[in-house]
């Protein structure tokens, strides 16, 4: 509830105080009331407090009155207390020094007899958001979690997460997560349980980036005992908490079918809930659990149809839209299952156009042999709709259904009837459709041409429609008697034609016509080429020039280029890949379904514009939030490993080190890692200092000894093993440089590869993959996502070179597939790097 800025009109009204005099006036009054023991003092204080909050709401800075507000807060009046807490919560962050003044009375209130006061005080204490004051939070929170009143425990369990965000270490040192977990599994109050679950998920998800223990804790939340415990209590929870528990359950991996049926039987009645959010969350559980059982999955579709349609009918247009988007997703996945429900998707007069648009898409998808006639009849009614965008969509829908091959004959007739309606936009849309239809069904050309030939090109204003008409004139000029003359008249008006798209089509159409009917077109062709060569639009000019030279070169060749025998188009390209669709389905019951985009497209900063890391993005945990600490930790860890390495591993390591000339295999010291330029400026002394043990150990083997001896000889060749690319074991790249490189470099490779099933399973903890890849000298710079979709950014560096490889890796744990996008400084080795990366990835989970 941040105070909002007042609109100018409002601040002028007498009830809305404004200006500094008001604030000083309020301060004055507060000071007078501070010590007052008059019988009506509380009423007066209420009045003044209310005016302070009113100013705050109107956007006036009332922070100057902080001291006076605190002075007046020593009261037993709950209403006054609440207003004071509200005020303090808003202003404490900006005034940490003054916030200290409030600690005293908040702490005292945390020990009040009345549980409501205790809860209120604790909530306010946790909402101060002043890092210096966290020490005062621990004791009240720990006591609060054990409070006899459920209200206080409710507040305390959310408070723990608030503390985590203010000071991670304080929260963890006080062992609050453990206390939350114990409370979650035992508390009698369902809301306390729900709040513990929220807080734990939040804390552990963020912690998982740094600690394996936290990642394991998350796994336990998704484990059978916890999920079943929560599901068994599902009816005790509030609707909102039910949604969260169901979301948790949707990620549960059952070990056998009995577990699946147990859960579904338990949740069956949730589908009858009046709250759409609960129903959708339940449906998500059902759909995800039955993914591997095709027939049951299909039964689920049948079962959820009716509840979803009921939700679409109830509630506000916004609520119906949200549900309808999910229904849309399901219809697109399994149109057959909805083919008998087509009437449910007819547009209603009162539907907003965003609802109508979705319905039209669904009607298009579910059209089949049995219902096409009815659906197309209905769609034709919408073509005359007052809402022009919807009328256009309806015509397009008719065309799409025709392209799906059902009942084409009748549909072609109807499309041709549209042309008779003589409305500009109807004609334009229809022409585009007729053109596409002819590309797929050339056999209809005679019927269509007869009608299209009667259309006067002067009546069509829209470029797309005009271009479609011109295309047909060129393509079928042998069948259309007037074609050369219509084209000629269009060429005459070349200068008035605004759209370059139309002019391009005109050029080509005249060329085609010329080869079919040379004597009649010759004149027009000359005029067209002249006009095209003089055209100011680069593409038009170029195409005209190209045609001109082609004709000069050899008319026969030109004919083969312009008028080749064409194959009918069998399928028009789908706009969205099935992989994207699957990912949206995995994110059922989220905004992804409404936006029709997987979440990474709108949550990742990269896709939203700037590629930066900040704390507000909770689902993108950042591996390099504090590059110094992480890298230094890695360095020490690696040093430890060095001592533990087996001889054979060691050999490997040293081979690489010795080949790597003067470029260090090791990082710069932690405090110097910032700018990447340091990488090259590292001095040999540093290397020597950091890696004193290496050569000593490896000297024990002959192989290394040879190498060592050869170190001084400049022409010692590296063992020639072309595909085996070796990587720098400790490359350094800061996020800023990564981001810059990612933006600058072209995509070298884009591949899909598989993970082992074990690997996919262990991805419940993304941290484990990061460590696994690290052991293969591939570093993670950022990771994010939620099951089943994770996204990682990795990088590696060619040993002994400065060239980096950057990888975007999107893993879907459900399909055990990974999408790789590799960008490389040195593109020639990108393939070898990809091989290396994939082999490392495929071994994940097997060790």
């Amino acid at each position: 509830m941040a105070p909002t800025a007042p609109s100018p009109a409002k601040s002028a009204s007498p009830s809305q105080p404004s200006g500094k005099s008001e604030v000083s006036d309020l301060k004055q009054q507060l000071r007078q009331l501070a010590g007052s023991r008059a019988p009506d003092a509380d009423d007066q204080r209420r009045d003044v407090f209310k005016r302070v909050i009113s100013c705050m709401t109107a956007g006036i800075d009332v922070s100057a009155a902080f001291g006076e507000m605190v002075l007046c807060s020593a009261t037993s009046d709950v209403v006054l207390k609440k207003m004071c807490y509200l005020y303090v919560g808003v202003h404490a962050r900006a005034h940490p020094d003054l916030a200290l003044l409030t600690i005293n009375f908040l702490q005292r209130d945390c020990r009040d007899q009345d549980p409501t006061i205790r809860g209120l005080a604790l909530r306010s204490l946790c909402s101060l958001r002043v890092p210096n004051l966290v020490e005062y939070l621990v004791a009240p929170l720990t006591t609060g979690l054990k409070d006899p009143s459920a209200y206080v425990r409710m507040v305390a369990s959310v408070g723990a997460a608030k503390l985590y965000h203010i000071s991670t270490t304080t929260c963890l040192d006080a062992d609050l997560p453990a206390a939350l977990k114990a409370l979650m599994l035992s508390d009698s109050d369902a809301q306390v349980v729900a709040n513990c679950l929220h807080s734990l998920l939040e804390i552990w998800t963020l912690e998982a980036a740094n600690s394996e223990a936290a990642a394991r804790e998350i796994e336990t939340l998704y484990s059978k005992p916890v999920v079943f415990y929560l599901l068994n209590r599902i009816k005790e929870f509030s609707e909102w908490a039910q949604c969260h528990v169901l979301e948790l359950a949707s990620k549960f991996l059952p070990s056998d079918n009995n577990e699946i049926f147990d859960i579904m039987n338990l949740l069956e009645d949730r589908l009858q809930h009046a709250n759409g959010a609960v129903v959708l969350a339940t449906i998500k559980v059902f759909l995800h659990l039955t993914m591997s059982m095709t027939d049951v999955h299909q039964q689920v579709y049948e079962r959820i149809k009716a509840p979803l349609l009921t939700l679409v009918g109830a509630g506000s247009p916004e609520q119906s839209y949200s549900v309808l988007c999910h229904l849309h997703l399901l219809v697109m996945r399994a149109p057959m299952l909805f083919s008998s429900d087509y009437k449910s998707f007819y547009c209603q007069f009162s539907d907003p156009s965003y609802v109508k648009k979705l319905k039209l898409e669904m009607l298009t998808a579910i059209a089949n042999e049995s219902n096409t006639y009815e659906i197309v009849t209905e769609l034709c009614e919408y073509a005359g709709n007052v809402d022009v965008p919807i009328a256009r969509e309806s015509i397009r829908a008719v065309g799409k259904i025709a392209l799906q091959q059902y009942d084409v004959n009748a549909i072609v007739d109807r499309l041709l009837q549209f042309l008779e309606m003589d409305k500009d936009y109807v004609t334009a849309e229809t022409l585009v459709l007729v053109k596409d239809l002819l590309r797929k069904y050339p056999q209809w050309s005679h019927d269509c041409i007869a009608v299209v030939g009667n259309i006067s090109s002067q009546n069509i204003q829209e470029p797309k429609g005009k271009a479609a008409l011109i295309w047909m004139l060129g393509e079928y000029s042998q069948d259309m008697h007037d074609a050369p003359y219509i084209l000629e008249s269009l060429v005459d008006n070349w200068d008035e034609e605004q759209s370059p798209e139309v002019r391009l089509h005109l050029l080509t159409a005249v060329m085609k016509c010329f080869f079919k009917r040379p004597p009649e077109t010759q004149k027009a062709l000359g005029a067209t080429l002249a006009a095209g060569l003089a055209d100011t639009h680069q593409d038009v000019h170029d195409r005209a020039l190209f045609y001109y030279r082609l004709l000069q070169h050899d008319p026969a060749v030109a004919e083969r280029v312009v008028n080749p025998p064409k194959q009918a188009v069998s399928v028009f390209a789908d706009t969205q890949s099935s992989e994207i669709k699957d990912r949206i389905f995995d994110e059922f019951n989220s905004l992804s379904v409404v936006y029709q985009k997987p979440s990474y497209m709108f949550t990742d900063k990269e896709h939203r514009g700037t590629f930066e890391y900040s704390e507000d993005l909770t689902n993108l945990t950042v591996g390099v939030e504090a590059p110094e600490t992480v890298i230094s930790a890695q360095r020490y860890q690696e040093n430890d490993n060095d001592l533990l390495l087996s001889t054979s591993d060691k050999e490997d390591n040293v081979t690489r080190a010795s080949n790597g000339s003067s470029t260090s295999t090791y990082n710069a010291p932690p405090d110097l890692t910032g700018p990447s330029s340091l990488l090259s400026s590292q001095t040999p002394t540093e290397t020597a200092l950091i890696n004193p043990g290496g050569p000593t150990y490896s000297a024990q083997t002959n192989f290394s000894l040879d190498d060592l001896l050869g170190l001084g000889v400049p022409d010692t060749p590296a063992p020639p093993s072309p595909p085996a690319l070796t990587l720098n074991s400790k490359p350094v790249l800061d996020p800023g440089t990564f981001q810059k490189k990612w933006g600058q470099l072209a995509l070298s490779l884009s591949q899909e590869c598989s993970l082992s099933p074990q690997g996919a399973a262990s991805l419940m903890n993304p941290q484990s993959l990061i460590r696994h890849m690290q052991s293969n000298y591939i570093q993670c710079i950022a990771s994010g996502g939620q099951p089943p979709n994770y996204k990682f950014f990795f990088y590696g560096q060619k040993d002994g070179a400065t060239a980096f490889y950057l990888v975007e890796c999107i893993v879907n744990t459900a399909s055990a597939k990974a999408q790789l996008k590799i960008k490389a400084d040195d593109g020639t080795t990108a393939q070898s790097f990809s091989t290396l990366f994939q082999s490392a990835l495929s071994k994940f989970g097997l060790s």
């Binding site: 709950v78 409501t116 809301q191 009046a274 009437k343």
Partner: protein, 379 residues
């Protein structure tokens, strides 16, 4: 939570609006201005750190200390579906639905009463020949309880009520599909509703929480008798003229009256003028030609059951019409509200409140209302 469930968010927002309305009686700018401290207090208890805590008006009572300041409901245009009860029907006490659930009434005592509203939104599409193409009813049984002490309530519906379209759905979770005179496609229930005996005698048991909530939502596509028959004709009458005839027949009993009826008809885009001719002795009817949207509009204050009303209009075009006028005009759309009428025939047989004492006899209001959602006649 960056990628949150949109339904969760929308349901939550709506619930917050409802809780606020329960407290303030009416939800509008004026009542929000007067009660902003109370609204802050409510929001603080409803959501903590982004997590919804409790949205039950009843549970919130023990944490909310500010008293609502009432606004004069008479002056304010009421919001929401409750608005429909403000007009026309004598049986309803005017202030009832705008009364705060928590505040005491001027007399100091709270009146014990409960409202059960059966609200149906109907959608009908007539073909040009008057044949019903599609029809659907989306209904809600809404309850608003001002009862103290949370007595248990039994709400009995039609005994022969069927649920689930026979044949079309594979699931058959209430065995009595088909057969009954009222067959719902599907329904859902508020979580306070116990369905233990619903299968046997179609009775809902519940302990109503304070405030307003939907007991049950239902959907019906079974054929029903539409309350109005609409006939629309457009005919050429000379080179650049046309005549329109609109006729409405009220197909319900004479003791029911529909109110605030609007009939709209889009006309060809080249229409310049329209002149109207109302039937003889027409009372409370107005007509208009909306030039911007090229639409005829006909408003009727009320229509008594069994009656028939006609409107004639002469259109003047700016050009000669080419070809088919029916493709250029229509469809006709109608809006109306009919209190004490429900198209589905779903009935509340009785509303029983468990008695605390012999003298305890709270007021019970069972009200029906039907509204047009999409009532369309094609030309």
């Amino acid at each position: 939570m960056v990628n949150i469930s949109p339904s969760l968010l929308l349901e939550l927002l709506q619930r917050i609006a409802r809780v606020t309305k329960d407290y303030l009686g009416v939800l509008n700018e004026d009542s929000l201005r007067k009660n902003f401290i109370l609204v802050y207090e409510l929001l603080d208890e409803v959501i903590d750190f982004g997590y919804p805590q409790t949205t039950s008006t009843e549970a919130l009572k023990s944490y909310i200390f500010n008293e609502p300041i009432m606004v004069d409901a008479g002056r304010m245009p009421p919001l929401g579906p409750a608005a429909m009860f403000m007009q026309g029907s004598k049986r309803m006490p005017g202030t009832a639905v705008t009364k705060s659930v928590v505040a005491n009434e001027p007399g100091g005592k709270k009146r014990e009463e409960i409202f059960v509203d059966i609200i149906e939104k109907i959608s009908v599409t007539f073909s040009s020949s008057g044949y019903i193409l599609t029809s659907e009813i989306d209904g809600t049984i809404q309850m608003k309880s001002y009862l103290s002490g949370n007595p248990e309530i039994r709400l009995a519906l039609n005994e022969d009520l069927g649920i689930g379209r026979s044949g079309s759905s594979t699931h058959d979770y209430r065995s009595s599909s088909g057969g009954g005179s009222v067959v719902l496609d599907d329904c859902n229930f508020h979580e306070s509703v116990q369905l233990d005996s619903f299968d046997i005698d179609r009775t809902l048991h519940l302990i109503p929480p304070d405030g307003e909530f939907p007991v049950m939502n239902y959907r019906m596509t079974q054929e029903f008798k539409p309350p109005f028959r609409v006939t629309a004709l457009i005919e050429e009458a000379g080179p650049s003229r046309a005549e329109v005839l609109l006729k409405i027949r009220a197909d319900f009993s004479a003791n029911v009256t529909a109110n605030t009826i609007t009939v709209q008809m889009p006309v060809p885009s080249y229409t310049m003028r329209a002149s109207f001719e109302l039937e003889a002795g027409a009372v409370g009817q107005t007509t208009d030609f909306k030039e911007g949207s090229r639409r005829l509009e006909w408003n009727l204050k009320k229509i008594v059951g069994g009656s028939e009303h006609t409107l004639r209009a002469k259109l003047t075009f700016s050009q000669e019409s080419h070809g088919n006028l029916t493709k250029e005009a229509g469809p006709v759309n109608m809006n109306f509200t009919i209190p004490m009428y429900n198209a589905s025939k779903l009935q509340v047989r009785y509303l029983q409140i468990s008695k605390k004492s012999k003298t305890y006899n709270p007021y019970r209001w069972v009200r029906y209302v039907t509204q047009a959602n999409s009532y369309v006649a094609r030309l």
